[in-house]
């Protein structure tokens, strides 16, 4: 097997492990958001284990690449990736959403590796913009990544930020849009149509890269391509499946914001073996 093929297999295995952690955490917590955590699991696994320049032993290292999760409700995924990277012990994952836990129901700076709190949708791209411009001021070459949900691009704040990132030519910034096509109340196309989505971002001055968000090769290719873009920000529009990896959660709106029962978790973990 060629090296890159091996690497792809390893990342796929890692993503499966991350998905297992998400199910275990949510089942223990009894509440939380599996759908969007599972849909962006491959995107974030590739980022943290292949792309991001970071040091879990030194979370404040000035040269680190920044990551911000704008769709904060998908923090079970972020926490799993952070724990797997070594930011904190994996046992902590089972304290998700408990009183006094470092793992709050939505991201909070008490978690090692979390730079800025989130949870109120539509603000993360602005946060990433501030980080991107700071890199320029400090003459540092770190990159800034921001994961957004599709539903949250219905927020006006996102488009204010989209305009500004382009105005300031933030080519050290890469947005990742988890386009799973669902939001709490139903399909995005029925609740509030996002299409033509790529054309909107292009019109705002962004380089768009459209991929299958569950194909590791395409994901890694997209990150590499985004890095080469000069003079404008890049957005990876990743087509994904909500609840990806667990048959009874896939494209089921109910699992946007409902944790699996103990029984459901058992089945899910079996599917993810």
């Amino acid at each position: 097997m060629p090296d890159n093929e091996k690497e792809i297999r390893e990342l796929e295995n890692k993503a499966r492990q991350i998905r297992r952690l998400i199910i275990q955490m949510l089942a223990k917590a009894g509440s939380g958001h599996p759908g969007g955590s599972l849909s962006s699991a491959d995107l974030l696994t590739a980022l943290y284990f292949k792309v991001l320049r970071h040091n879990p032993q030194d979370p404040k290292w000035p040269q680190r690449d920044r990551f911000h999760m704008s769709k904060g409700h998908c923090c079970p995924l972020w926490y799993a990736v952070l724990a797997e990277s070594g930011y904190f012990p994996k046992e902590k994952l089972l304290t998700l959403r408990q009183l006094g836990s470092i793992l709050q129901g939505h991201p909070d700076r008490r978690t090692p590796g979390v730079e800025v709190a989130s949870g109120s949708l539509g603000q993360g791209l602005s946060v990433a913009l501030g980080m991107s411009l700071s890199a320029r001021l400090d003459k540092l070459d770190y990159r800034v990544y921001c994961l957004m949900g599709d539903g949250e691009t219905q927020e006006g704040n996102i488009w204010e930020a989209a305009m500004a990132c382009s105005h300031y030519k933030c080519d050290n910034l890469c947005a990742i849009l988890d386009y799973n096509g669902f939001q709490i109340d139903g399909k995005t196309c029925e609740i509030m149509e996002l299409e033509p989505l790529a054309a909107k971002w292009q019109a705002f001055g962004w380089k768009t890269i459209e991929i299958n968000g569950h194909d590791m090769k395409e994901i890694i290719g997209a990150y590499a391509e985004a890095k080469k873009i000069k003079g404008k920000p890049a957005i990876i529009i990743a087509r994904t499946t909500k609840g990806k990896g667990v048959s009874f959660m896939e494209n089921v709106c109910d699992f946007h914001g409902r944790a699996p029962t103990e029984e459901e978790a058992k089945i899910a973990l079996k599917e993810l073996e």
């Binding site: 800025v116 990433a128 501030g130």
Partner: protein, 308 residues
């Protein structure tokens, strides 16, 4: 006649002073840099000034990104937009993370003048006062504006500094500015007036007129609204027969509420409120508006005479 100054001129100049010393200061504005005077900083340090256009929500949330990278961020626009339009960004993205973001808003209160109700923030102190971590200063004149901005720059965490549009007279001071401590401008056993911002000057005039009538009125310049100097208020409540609280703000949620909360729990005493009661502002010149909304020295005097 005392010197008349624009608080926002002092703000712009103080930013330059601070910017020279601290390279980590960045300034953000939303298309109002001429009015807020952040353009003075922009002219000196163009690379550290960012105009966000008419997009206050993006500006406010971006300030958190800057702050997370070690910047001390000054964010300016009119008070109504800083605290109203971008409230969720201030609460969830700035203050929740306890970032070094200093919101310095101009054009607060009725004295915005002819622009009228849409631009006259009468709720901004209330909106900021309920958010944990947020510190609030309402300076009364030009020199105190410099003190307030400097304190905000040098004290960790998020700040809201409230400035006006119109020129204000420079007061003769007895004390040095101490962040978090009320300034005692006068002591009096009959009544203590507690005021902030432009109302401090009105209160000083009222005190002089009352003195001529042999009424001894004290005056606290409550420039810091958070952290609140409860001790000074309790002491005033105990040493005088009544309190009169004056602010260019709604009587709900601002200085008067802060005073009421403290005395109700510690030392109940009658406290009358001079502020805006269940009304929006309107167009007019600042002196006309203060009169229309009963916020002049004469109104303070009338209130004192009523209460004692």
């Amino acid at each position: 006649m005392s010197e008349m100054l624009y608080q926002r001129d002092i703000y712009g100049k103080t930013l330059v002073e601070l910017g020279k010393k601290n390279k980590d200061i960045v300034v953000l504005d939303a298309d109002l840099s001429g009015s807020t005077r952040t353009k003075i900083f922009a002219a000196e340090f163009p690379e550290r000034f960012f105009n966000f256009g008419v997009a206050e929500q993006n500006m406010m949330a971006s300030s958190a990104g800057f702050a997370s990278c070690g910047k001390t961020v000054f964010v300016s626009t009119f008070a109504i937009f800083a605290t109203g339009r971008a409230w969720d960004q201030v609460r969830n993205t700035v203050s929740y993370s306890n970032f070094n973001v200093k919101i310095v808003a101009t054009h607060a209160g009725l004295t915005v003048g002819p622009d009228g109700a849409s631009h006259q923030a009468l709720e901004d102190i209330a909106l900021m006062r309920v958010i944990p971590n947020m510190k609030i200063i309402v300076p009364c004149d030009g020199p105190q504006t410099r003190d307030a901005i400097t304190a905000a720059a040098n004290t960790p965490g998020p700040f809201y500094v409230r400035l006006g549009r119109a020129k204000v007279p420079t007061l003769e001071k007895k004390e040095e500015f101490k962040f978090g401590k009320a300034e005692v401008l006068a002591e009096g056993k009959d009544v203590t007036i507690i005021a902030c911002g432009v109302m401090v000057n009105e209160a000083l005039a009222a005190i002089k007129s009352l003195a001529a009538k042999k009424i001894k009125a004290g005056l606290l310049n409550m420039h810091t609204i958070r952290p609140f100097d409860s001790e000074a208020v309790i002491s005033a409540a105990r040493s005088s027969k009544a309190l009169v609280v004056c602010e260019e703000h709604s009587v709900i949620g601002g200085l008067a509420s802060a005073v009421d909360e403290v005395i109700a729990e510690n030392s109940p005493v009658k406290a009358l409120r001079l502020g805006v009661r269940n009304r929006f502002g309107q167009s007019g010149e600042p002196p006309e508006l203060l009169k229309e909304y009963q916020l002049t020295a004469a109104d303070i005097e009338k209130t004192v005479l009523k209460i004692i």
